[in-house]
């Protein structure tokens, strides 16, 4: 069975379970709307959903791009400089002890209700996984390659550019794959705390008006968006950063 077939079968099974729960428990539709109603809501509100999804998607993409660039550069800087490792790494680890959610109100205060605070949330949430998986890969370069390069008379900067970075790109790719799943979380948190557009905003709005079907519609849109993003990043990584073993 191919991956998409497995995905489809799994989705159908999920919908069947969902319908069964609705039928068996008789929950009112403002608590748990049946799948058919949600599908109808998605179709009826397609323009609205597309608009808000576009906003969220833009936040996620910009956050992802900036996070990848900043994370990549940080990892290289840390790998290149023992001093940077001593000074910055404890700070990075400490920063992970701060729940990202707790930063959202501050970011909204600093950056306002527009795209900026959401992009910052997405960036912050993916920065650590990108940096740390790339950094770990940079520090795991085959010692024999490094030895050979030194015998050849290489400078540390050229070893970094010609050997350590290319060798670590698959590690960077696994960081980016994680980032593609995390970045939407950051954007949605940002939207919950304060926004006038975006899927997170739409979900809160729908929830407040007991439009549970619309909330589900937004949720499903977000999930599909995240899956597509992950698939696209995965494909791009396979084409550019991964390499066949051997």
């Amino acid at each position: 069975m191919k991956a998409w077939q497995a995905g489809l079968a799994s989705a159908l099974a999920g919908i069947a379970v969902w319908q069964a729960v609705v039928s068996l428990t008789g929950l009112p539709r403002f608590i748990l709307p049946p799948p058919a109603l949600v599908a109808e809501t998605i179709w009826d509100n397609r323009a609205l959903l597309a608009h808000h999804a576009g906003i969220t998607f833009a936040e996620v993409l910009i956050g992802l791009a900036l996070g990848a660039i900043l994370g990549g550069l940080s990892a290289i800087g840390l790998a290149a400089s023992p001093l940077a490792r001593v000074l910055v790494r404890p700070m990075l680890v400490f920063s992970q002890a701060i729940p990202v959610f707790a930063l959202a109100p501050i970011l909204t205060l600093w950056l306002g209700f527009g795209l900026g605070s959401k992009i910052a949330m997405a960036l912050i949430i993916i920065y650590f996984p990108v940096t740390s998986s790339f950094f770990d890969a940079l520090m795991r370069t085959d010692r024999d390659w490094l030895g050979l390069a030194r015998v050849m008379g290489a400078t540390p900067a050229r070893i970094m550019w010609h050997i350590r970075i290319p060798a670590a790109l698959p590690g960077f790719a696994s960081g980016l794959r994680l980032a593609a799943v995390y970045a939407p979380i950051g954007a949605i948190i940002g939207e919950w705390v304060g926004a006038s557009q975006g899927l997170g905003y739409l979900m809160l709005l729908a929830n407040g008006r007991a439009k549970t079907d619309l909330m589900f519609a937004a949720l499903i849109t977000l999930a599909v968006l995240t899956l597509l993003l992950h698939a696209a990043v995965n494909k791009a990584c396979e084409k550019t950063l991964d390499r066949p073993s051997g």
Partner: protein, 239 residues
């Protein structure tokens, strides 16, 4: 090319862990010296010292070349081909130039690949090559470095018998007149390629007589077989 002689004497340790003591090794200029010995006796450390890969190593003694510094004079080839999997073969051959910031001479690299019989494989990635071809690629990269001193760390031991014999012939041909130090576990290889054969033990070095014929010696020649048998006997006695 005028290849220098090498010398290494003294005691080496990693931290408090002694590797070898009281060693006095001379490697003749422009010839193949084979270094044998049990695992853990410090053969690889000898190569690392000559290669300048002294991280964590402490040598109380001397290590150098007859014409001065070893820096920039040494090329290294190991059991693992160490080809970079993301680069085509020709760029692997040119990696030394790139790492030094020299202008990569593609024509020269293709010429070297032709010499080792890989002219048709220049644009292939290492994963598309057989083990023997990859090791030829590593030899091409070593040749491209064009250094008077070549350190070989069991470069043929992972190859099948036929490929190994071919690689020995090829290496003896293309590395002629250089100072070659070959670390090997294979008495047959030493008997074919050694213009001098030395066994390293914890007690010091033992010289072994070699056939008086040019290398690569045919492996079926009586004196080569005899040398191989004598070497094996001596290795067993020392083990």
């Amino acid at each position: 090319m005028r290849a220098p002689a090498l010398h290494l004497s003294g005691t080496a340790r990693i931290g408090d862990q002694p590797i070898f003591a009281g060693l006095d090794l001379q490697v003749g200029a422009g010839q193949w010296t084979c270094l044998l010995g049990a695992s853990g006796v410090g053969k690889s450390t000898v190569l690392r010292l000559f290669a300048g890969l002294t991280e964590g190593l402490v040598l109380e003694g001397q290590c150098g070349a007859s014409d001065g510094s070893l820096a920039g004079q040494v090329a290294l080839m190991a059991q693992d081909d160490l080809l970079l999997p993301w680069l085509p073969l020709v760029d692997n051959v040119l990696i030394g130039a790139r790492l030094r910031g020299d202008r990569p001479d593609r024509a020269a690299a293709l010429d070297v690949l032709r010499r080792v019989g890989l002219a048709d494989h220049a644009d292939k990635h290492p994963s598309e090559l057989s083990g023997g071809q990859r090791q030829r690629g590593a030899l091409a990269r070593t040749l491209m470095e064009d250094r008077p001193i070549v350190l070989l760390d069991e470069p043929f031991s992972a190859l099948d018998a036929l490929t190994r014999a071919q690689m020995q012939d090829l290496a003896a041909e293309v590395l002629a007149d250089r100072t070659v130090l070959l670390v090997t576990h294979d008495p047959g290889e030493a008997a074919r390629l050694g213009q001098r054969i030395v066994i390293m033990t914890h007690g010091g070095l033992e010289e072994v007589a070699t056939p008086d014929t040019p290398i690569p010696r045919p492996m079926e020649a009586p004196d080569v077989l005899q040398a191989q048998a004598a070497l094996l006997t001596q290795l067993r006695r020392l083990a």
